[in-house]
Amino acid sequence: MTDRGTPLVEMRDISIAFGGIKAVDHVTIDLFPGEVVGLLGHNGAGKSTLIKCLSGAYHADAGDIFINGEKAVIANPRDARDYNIETIYQTLALADNLDAASNLFLGRELVTPMGLVDDVRMEAEARKIMARLNPNFRKFKVPVSALSGGQRQSVAIARAVYFNARILIMDEPTAALGPHETQMVAELIEELKRQGLGIFLIEHDIHNVMKLCDRASVMKNGQLVGTVNVNEVTDDDILGMIILGKTPEKVA
């Protein structure tokens, strides 16, 4: 992969254990600008755990993370944000009692010159970004607990997109969505790709993987089975990797 220049992200030899369980065991993955890398595997394969090391929620026991070729220290979510890494969590990580704008800007509030939160400006900005992502979104005044699954999802996506991320982590972004909204997310991913973002996509639906991803890294029991170029393999090959932990012969 070195012919493509410096990777945007390189997670090298990452290990993390909880008690005696090795959740992630010496895994190396990378991501280039304008690329979507799918992360696949069974539930409990270690995908989310691996990615949480990048977003700062967990701290790896061993291994290094390189951003643009430079060693990065990511001790908490604030550090990750400083590296322009944005994450859409599987749980969405929304504060249910706050409205959409407050969630969108949580931790990065717009403030007035006096240092006070500028709710009106944040709501105006939220209206702008939501008009782009989900034009049907109207409920700006209610807590997000009153929103539907799809609407909540769009708030979480808006949060990741608004702050000009360079690296986007999407943990099952379409799990709660209907077909129409899934299509909107797919279009969004295409658009972000064109803008040169690197995207890690954790996804269970093999059809979405084949459609959206450039490469796929498959994990099983905390270990990396292999990374393949999606256009060189069939969905059966990938399923074989997920279920049997077997790398297809032609790429291996």
């Binding site: 929620a57 979510p77 504060a95 009692n97 105006a124």
Partner: protein
């Protein structure tokens, strides 16, 4: 921000439905919190109920008199100040059972300072004594609170009561510095008629300014405006309440003995029929109002307040959003400690002494005030004004039952039942608003 009222929902769903009744339309136009209206309704019901009971059963309605309401306002202050801090603690899904003990400890420290320590160095009656004493009390409260925040799981209930005992050897420390005593209220510890009018007019000016400012902000960002009649209505009601309060506190004259003492000291001749000197707002009440304004500002206009609500709504999400939740907890408990220290100033000044028992079981009243005022024990929801009204409700019940001569045992039953009812209503309210 945390409101999830019907008015909000109606406002969010866009155009006015043609079928809505006048009440719904009124609520939507004024954007008033239904919960606030409910609390004020309950409060008025309690007041009128006790007055009527006294009037019909005992032949004298003592509740709705300037004297009782003035005293009620002073009694509410100590609990009210702490309740505003407890809102933050409960909103972030914690509970603080140590406030009563910290209050006692702060009071003892301040008492020791002004009775034994400072006079030795500064001389008795030195003007700095009360300032240093208050500052030391606030500092102690803040430090203890921060320490608790740091320990979080640790509860200092008995530790600080014990510490207070050690410091004072169980003695009652009295009398406190005379300036310090003013902070507790009483005839001299009030701002008088003119002062009250100044406070009242400032408050009215503030209300009018907020209405105009809010309108211009909404216009700037092209958000829907409230109808003019609703703005005028809010302005008139707000100013009306303020002016009513001023008239009320000014209608309560100093007792004859105090007037006589005052007249002798200032060489004033008391005219025929006595001299009418108004109490005006008591200083602790003004402290409570000031605390209420500052805390409301903190909760709704600063990042700190936003993070408090975010942590209450979803601690994990707050952490993932880059909020340092542990440091926030320390800050919240430190603030609670500071407010307890302040409350301790009011409580010990009012008694004119610091005793080891001061603040015993206050934590229950403080928590009850916050919960009655709409702070959800599940976290994430609560308002400062609600907690203050809650404190007023608790104190009204207490005072009312004393006035009509209920047994202490029944009083406790009633207070406990009200708390259970408040928790039940909170549960009901949240399940319907979701």
């Amino acid at each position: 921000m945390t409101q999830s009222t019907t008015s909000d929902k109606a406002g969010a769903s866009g155009a006015a439905s043609p079928h809505e009744g006048p009440v719904t339309r009124f609520l939507r136009a004024t954007e008033l919190d239904t919960r606030l209206i409910g609390m004020i309704g309950a409060l008025l019901l309690i007041w009128i109920g006790f007055h009527a009971y006294g009037y019909f059963v005992n032949g004298f309605g003592a509740f709705l008199t300037p004297r009782n309401l003035w005293n009620l306002s002073v009694q509410t202050s100590s609990i009210g100040i702490m309740a505003t801090g407890m809102v933050l603690v409960i909103v972030t899904r914690h509970i603080d059972l140590s406030v009563g003990s910290i209050l006692g400890f702060c009071a003892i420290v301040m008492g020791m300072m002004q009775v034994y320590v400072l006079p030795k160095y500064l001389g008795l009656g030195h003007p700095l004594i009360w300032i240093i004493a208050v500052l030391s009390g606030l500092a102690i409260g803040t430090l203890v609170g921060a320490f608790h925040g740091w320990l979080i799981a640790y509860r200092g209930l008995l530790v600080w009561r014990g510490a207070a005992f050690l410091v004072a050897r169980g003695e009652t420390i009295s009398p406190v510095d005379s300036t310090f005593a003013l902070l507790g209220g009483g005839p001299y510890g009030a701002v008088g008629a003119t002062g009250s009018w100044i406070v009242g007019l400032l408050a009215c000016a503030g209300i009018v300014f907020m209405i105009f400012h809010g309108r211009s902000q909404r216009r700037k960002f092209e958000f829907p405006l409230r109808p003019v009649w609703a703005e005028v209505f809010l302005g008139i009601v707000g100013c009306g309440i303020v002016i009513g309060a001023v008239l009320l506190v000014n209608a309560y004259p100093w007792p004859k003995g105090i007037v006589k003492q005052y007249a002798e000291r200032n060489a004033i001749d008391i005219p025929e029929g006595g001299l009418f000197i108004s109490h005006g707002f008591a200083i602790p009440v003004l402290i409570l109002i000031g605390v209420g304004i500052v805390m409301t500002f903190l909760m709704t206009r600063t990042r700190f307040g936003r993070y408090v609500f975010a942590i209450g709504g979803n601690p994990e999400a707050a952490e993932l959003a880059g909020i340092n939740t542990r440091w926030m907890t320390v800050k919240i408990f430190a603030l609670m400690g500071f407010l307890t220290g302040l409350s301790s100033v009011v409580a010990s000044a009012r008694l004119n002494s610091a005793t080891n028992a001061l603040g015993t079981l206050d934590e229950l009243y403080v928590i009850a005030s916050a919960v009655i005022g709409g702070t959800s024990l599940g976290g994430g929801i609560g308002t400062i004004y609600g907690a203050i009204i809650g404190a007023l409700v608790m104190q009204s019940l207490q005072t009312g039952m004393v006035l009509i001569g209920f047994d202490a045992a029944i009083q406790q039953v009633v207070v406990g039942s009200v708390l259970v009812l408040a928790v039940y209503l909170d549960k009901l309210y949240r399940s319907t608003s979701k």
